[in-house]
């Protein structure tokens, strides 16, 4: 601990009293079937898997494991709904369903947020203030597009694609479902969606919302399971488009398996964003931006600012302030409103993160972790930074997907840029400087799809998201996100 007299000491003396979100208002069933053709049905083969609370390692529910046959049932239901109902419906009417869904999500927001934090481990403050409101906002945004599509594409007639298969990750379970489903439906497609196997619960609750909203049966079908269930969706011959968010490794497998088909695809893959701090930046704000960039959602964020590039003249100051700030972060019960950093999503992911901690040290970098206590049960990782890393280190080049920051320094703008762009990824980037012309120079030259200048990790339904290079193909969100779900006829 620093002995600097100006340091803010939060952890000695005063303690925060626990402020847990209650769970008496939520309803989680003991078993969840597959949501096919508007109802929950048992899987063809009687197999279920447990969904755990990663903060306690205790099971929350049992989730149906969808087989290839179940996926086929779901695709058939989606096709029938497409040809029979959804593709014939006016855009205005499709929009009304989406508006209604957004409204019900807002009504159930507290339940959604609580279940999201229970099932995925993220702090309730984040699920309550970010994930759930943004998910509802996505439905609200795309609802309005449903009858206005022709205005988005000059001199073209937009036409829906048919049945779209969607596979989403575990880091923002409900939000990713909304990112995928809302534009797909607005554009007149029907959906077969697979949530990630560790975080199926809010997708199941979303299925209940669809049912309660009276969405015609088969318009959205949700099948649960792991990789093989996803592969069955990707490879199903009657799927017209695949939308995937997840790792670059799996993205490449999907791109390969779609070769030789006429299926359209969008891929939102990994990242290794550089957060670049210039000497003329507002340093205290930048430190907040670094913390938000890498510790938001335990670093389980594809666009996380997982590399810090700090100009040499302020490097010592930034790292000292960052370490002090890290000491104030509270890690623990995701349902506690004081918690800053929740549980790592799964035992498997914790293992991955810990292997990178070893790799980083073995490569010669210096590791620093905050002092905070962690609970005995559950999966946890203290906020971690590495200094003394070089560009070729694996912790600089590879996505860790945890609260682990690799710190490098630079002298000139050009050196900072070169280092920022020197990975196979290009999803996002950050730049902190007080000088406007430098902001624009950097934001133009960073080869990435989303750039935050003097801010980080901001999201909005109107704002397109997606990567350059190996971070993916296509955009989601905003007007640009419509193109992923339409073909354009001359």
């Amino acid at each position: 601990m620093s002995t600097d007299s100006t340091k803010l000491a939060f952890n000695d003396g005063w303690q925060y009293a626990p402020a847990p979100e209650s769970i008496d208002h939520i309803q989680i069933d003991d078993h969840y079937g597959l949501f096919i053709n508007g109802e929950f049905v048992a899987p063809e083969i009687d197999r279920y898997f447990e969904s755990l609370n990663p903060a306690t390692e205790k099971p929350l529910s049992n989730i149906a494991l969808a087989s290839e046959k179940d996926v086929d049932r779901a695709v058939k239901a989606a096709r029938k709904a497409y040809t029979g109902v959804w593709s014939k419906m006016s855009g205005a009417d499709r929009g009304k369903y989406l508006f209604r869904i957004a409204r019900i999500m807002q009504e159930c927001a507290r339940e959604f947020a609580t279940i999201e934090s229970l099932d995925g481990g993220k702090p309730i403050r984040e699920s309550r203030d970010i994930d759930i409101p943004l998910a509802a906002a996505h439905f609200f945004y795309y609802a309005g597009w449903a009858d206005k599509l022709e205005y988005a594409f000059p001199a073209r007639t937009p036409v829906s694609l048919g049945v779209v298969g969607q596979i989403i990750p575990w880091n923002f379970p409900l939000l990713m479902a909304a990112w995928k489903i809302a534009p797909a439906l607005a554009c007149g497609n029907t959906v077969v969606l697979k949530p990630a196997e560790t975080t199926s619960l809010t997708a199941m609750k979303l299925a209940e919302v669809f049912r309660d909203a009276g969405l015609p049966p088969g318009v959205v079908n949700i099948v649960t399971g792991a990789g093989p269930t996803g592969a069955a969706i990707v490879n199903h011959p009657d799927v017209n488009k695949v939308a995937f968010t997840g790792s670059t490794e799996v993205g490449k497998i999907i791109q390969r398996s779609l070769a030789g088909t006429d299926k359209k695809y969008t891929l939102e893959l990994g990242g290794k964003a550089a957060n670049i701090i210039f000497a003329d930046a507002a340093i205290d704000e930048a430190v907040e931006g670094i913390v938000n960039g890498i510790f938001f959602n335990q670093g389980h964020v594809c666009c996380a600012g997982s590399r810090l590039l700090v100009q040499e003249s302020v490097a010592d100051e930034v790292v000292r302030k960052l370490r002090d700030r890290m000491e104030t972060l509270i890690i623990g019960d995701p349902l506690d409103k004081n918690t800053d950093i929740g549980a790592i999503n799964s035992a498997g992911q914790l293992e991955t993160i810990e292997s990178y901690l070893s790799i980083g040290q073995a490569e010669g970098a210096e590791m620093y972790q905050s002092d905070c206590s962690v609970p005995d049960q559950g999966y946890w990782c203290r906020p971690t930074i590495f200094t003394g890393v070089s560009q070729s280190n694996r912790i600089v080049q590879e996505e860790i997907f945890g609260p682990v920051l690799a710190i490098q320094t630079f002298r000139t703008l050009e050196e900072g840029l070169t280092k920022a762009n020197n990975t196979p990824y290009g999803l996002s980037g950050g730049v902190w400087t007080d000088k406007g012309s430098k902001v624009f120079k950097m934001t133009q030259k960073i080869r990435a799809g989303v750039i935050w200048a003097n801010t980080f990790n901001k999201f909005d339904p109107t704002s397109p998201f997606g990567g350059y290079k190996e971070s993916g193909v296509g955009r989601e969100g905003g007007m640009h996100g419509l193109g992923a779900y339409l073909k354009l006829e001359a």
Binding site: R256, A259, G260, T443, A453, N454, D460, K469, V473
Partner: protein
Amino acid sequence: MAETRIPVAKTYKIYLGGKFPRTESGRYFPFNAADGTVIANMCRGSLKDFRNSVVAARSAFAGWSASTAYLRGQILYRIAEMLEGRNEQFVSELVLQGVSKRKAVKEVEASIDRLIYYAGWSDKYQQIFSSVNPVSSSHFNFSVLEPTGVVGILAPENSSLLGLVSNIAPVIVGGNTCVVLASESLPLCAISFAEVLHSSDVPGGVVNLLTGFKDELRDQFASHMDVNAVVFCDGDAEISKIIQEKAADNVKHVISRRDQDWSSEKSQNPYLISETQETKTTWHPIGS
């Protein structure tokens, strides 16, 4: 005694980094006229030529992508001017390649007009496809297009000049650089077009043009790790499957333009520019 002048035959070479070298492999393939006369020994470009071209294209990318839209528009217009001036050469090459005179004239004219068409888009497509996004927080947020990087183009086999121009123009007007494999059976115009590019203020390396065998080079267009997008215009289902599979090595954009009628006006539109563009979204706080 009537003297017959002996004509000077042209050596067709490849176009790489703004120079006209022979293929490093020293190999060639003959191009014969319909009557069997040898017209030229074309360079049979190698994998190494391709890799060198990618290096040249990558080096040229920073400068070309940073050039102003106005400048790129003027340079595309300049290409059209140069092509117009050499109109007759291209007509005679097309005729040598077996096209009727009437069709050849039309093809060259259409190629010139297509360049003008895209020259005009240089400072407009951005305005069509960009957006200011009204986010629900105190940020200024906007999305613009940026070139994806180095683009590999497997030019159409049956449209020697117009098909070539129709694929290069939308790629470079958007600030990308490219490596192009010319039509294997109709390769003459491609190299002459490189000469047009060379005299049109197109910086070296922005367009690199190879001649050679598709079966030999195609896979590396798809698999090269420093190529960001691959455009292909021919090939059966099996070939497009292989291209798409290999493109996944570095998550390339794959753009299939098979069965396109390049003489149709429908084959020119700004959406062809956007296919090799990325959307970049920038956030900045609004505050004091």
